[in-house]
Symmetry: C2
């Protein structure tokens, strides 16, 4: 399968880092891109131009590849299903994409499979919002489609607050999943890589730290008990089997007391696995490629006592981290810096920094120091 | 400097692996290539076409880059010197390239600097060959220019044998360095990365194992005493300063009794440092980029007790390792496989395998097993 023509729908940093892994195995890939200025084409991946939501573009792209995979889930699903019916190979499948692309489908699917999630209602109108807020005075409204990095997710503490958000969304034809706001003890994430035949490997669970709903920091392995570690690992392998995922499945989990609850799913390389490039035997990107090309999977083990990954996010200064690289590298010769060649905008992920260290607190300090230097210029002396 | 336009003369596997490292730091580079089928363009590096030995091609290429570096030394040196005189930035410099491109210059330069090398003579005619073989009945004849991977190096045990080789070379205008055949106790290599201002970091010395003059296996760290380790490290840092190398300097060393002697030099990423991709905090490729762009250098420390790198070399079977990848990966989930997308030919390096392991002998067995699987197809069952 290594000589297969692999196409990646989407050309962002995930496709960029897939390409880095693909070079080692001499796997050739190209991407369905919107612009030549996206992170993957800027790293030398040949772009084919088109929108993943455009049936014709998706059809044309899949026709020229043996296997098609994805760096995001915002895909025209009807076309994806039709292409599979015509014998095209999509990994993950259109069905799996469909589950993760719509949070109402995701919640229903997991619930029907007996997998642990929060209570939820699917709200199509204002009456359903009012009813839900009557039940849970503090709730989370999630757009069923298109949210990411905390966008499309709203924590509300009153019916009025909820209605102010819901009104315009319903007017625009949108819907919500509403869930109670849970008293979280921790957030975790787990990534599993799975081949078409079901063979899988699971990465060590990680602790994730969110700021405004966006992943800010990842600590590997997760700072949880051995029981929680094992339970999270088992749960995520079950989800992968249940959804018959081929490629990667990333699951964000809530820890509430002793209960592990499923928060979100993704069927692609995930921000909570970026540390695996520098801290694991086989990175999530290489295992994604191996899985979708049906190659034997690599060892997901950590090669370090602790790894900390911090995202470089465009801030107020809007300085380009590429211009701050020398200062950042000077701070810490052991830092592994990854930049995505994206123009910085507030709240946009433009890179990440990973530190491997025997001491966790030192790893965290080091990772934050380098990340800060990539966003904030050194004071002129 | 990170926004500088970096050009790499040569488009082989070294440029390919430089590109992998460049992606992480969002460093853009292109290559002076002979063909679009070379390893670097196949990994997405934009090629500019031309021969490094063609003055016009070199001139055109350097005119469009802020910094020019190299993945080999077979460069038109006069043009390189002229370009520097015109203010172009070559890293390493034309002077450093000139030293390594001609073994007679290399030997004389090291000798004049008081650095340890074997006895040698420079033979321009048959009389000088006869004289040398009178002095050393077992000798090594090395073409002064163009040899690599054991090509251009001849071990001879009689004057007759020497003359049979030397005659055609002299007829073609070539010359030799002749050295005594030394009773080697071990071969080692050390790589140093050095910035324009002289800041440098040195990788742990490695043990190298050669077959027919070609590097076959690398063991990191070197299996030598702490004194030899320290002496080798100091020696290589001295050579880098002496030659004012910017970028990487790789030095192959002979260990004869307690004496460390310089065998060969290269001023670029080197086969004896390929393990650094998977076994060190910062790879030789990333540190090469950092050095030539005058960015702070990364930590060269090993992250594993032992790393073993074995080259995948085209053999009799001439099977393409890309077609054998699944079998090879199935053998060992912890193997780090690197393929260069080169058509296999006998004696041609087409990839390498690195194993990190706490146990050295197990690491060696694992590395050889995977490498063998990439060259020899599994028996049909």
């Amino acid at each position: 399968m290594s000589h297969s023509k692999l196409g990646v729908v989407g050309a962002g940093q995930l496709a960029r880092m897939m390409h880095q892994a693909a070079i080692a195995l001499a796997i050739e890939l190209d991407v369905l891109a919107v612009s030549a200025d996206e992170p993957a084409p800027l790293a030398g991946v040949p772009p084919r131009f088109g929108e993943a939501t455009d049936p014709e573009a998706l059809r044309r792209f899949s026709a020229s590849h043996d296997v098609v995979t994805f760096d995001h889930e915002v895909v025209d699903l009807e076309t994806a299903l039709a292409l599979e019916a015509e014998g095209r190979v999509l990994r993950p499948s259109a069905a799996a994409l469909g589950v993760v692309a719509d949070k109402s489908v995701m919640r229903r699917t997991l619930h029907d499979a007996g997998l642990p999630g929060p209570d939820f209602v699917i709200a199509n109108d204002e009456g359903e919002v009012t009813a839900a807020l009557g039940r849970w005075p503090q709730a989370v409204l999630k757009l069923t489609r298109g949210g990411y990095d905390g966008r499309g997710v709203f924590v509300v503490r009153s019916s009025d607050e909820a209605m102010a958000i819901a009104g315009p969304v319903f007017a625009g034809g949108g819907r919500f999943v509403i869930e109670p706001l849970l008293p979280l003890d921790a957030e975790m994430a787990v990534i599993v890589a799975r081949r078409p035949g079901g063979e899988s490997v699971v990465y060590d669970p990680v602790t994730t730290i969110q700021v405004d709903g966006m992943c800010s920091e990842v600590i590997a392995p997760a700072q949880v008990s051995a029981q929680h570690h094992a339970a999270a690992t088992d749960l995520v392998a079950r989800i992968a089997d249940e959804l018959d995922v081929v490629g990667l499945l990333a699951v964000e989990l809530f820890l509430v007391g002793d209960e592990i609850t499923i928060n979100e799913l993704a069927v692609r390389p995930h921000n909570t696995g970026h540390h695996t490039i520098d801290a694991c035997v086989t990175s999530q990107f290489e295992n994604h490629l191996r899985a979708v090309l049906d190659l034997p999977l690599g060892d997901p083990s950590l090669t370090t006592a602790h790894a900390v990954m911090v995202n470089v996010v465009g801030g107020e200064a809007l300085r380009d981290p590429r211009d701050l690289l020398a200062d950042a590298l000077a701070l810490d010769p052991g830092a592994r810096v990854h930049l995505y060649a994206k123009e910085p905008r507030p709240g946009r992920k433009v890179g990440h920094v990973t530190i491997c260290d025997d001491d966790l607190e030192r790893a965290r300090r080091r990772a934050w120091a380098v990340t800060t230097a990539l966003d904030t210029p050194k004071e002129p002396s």
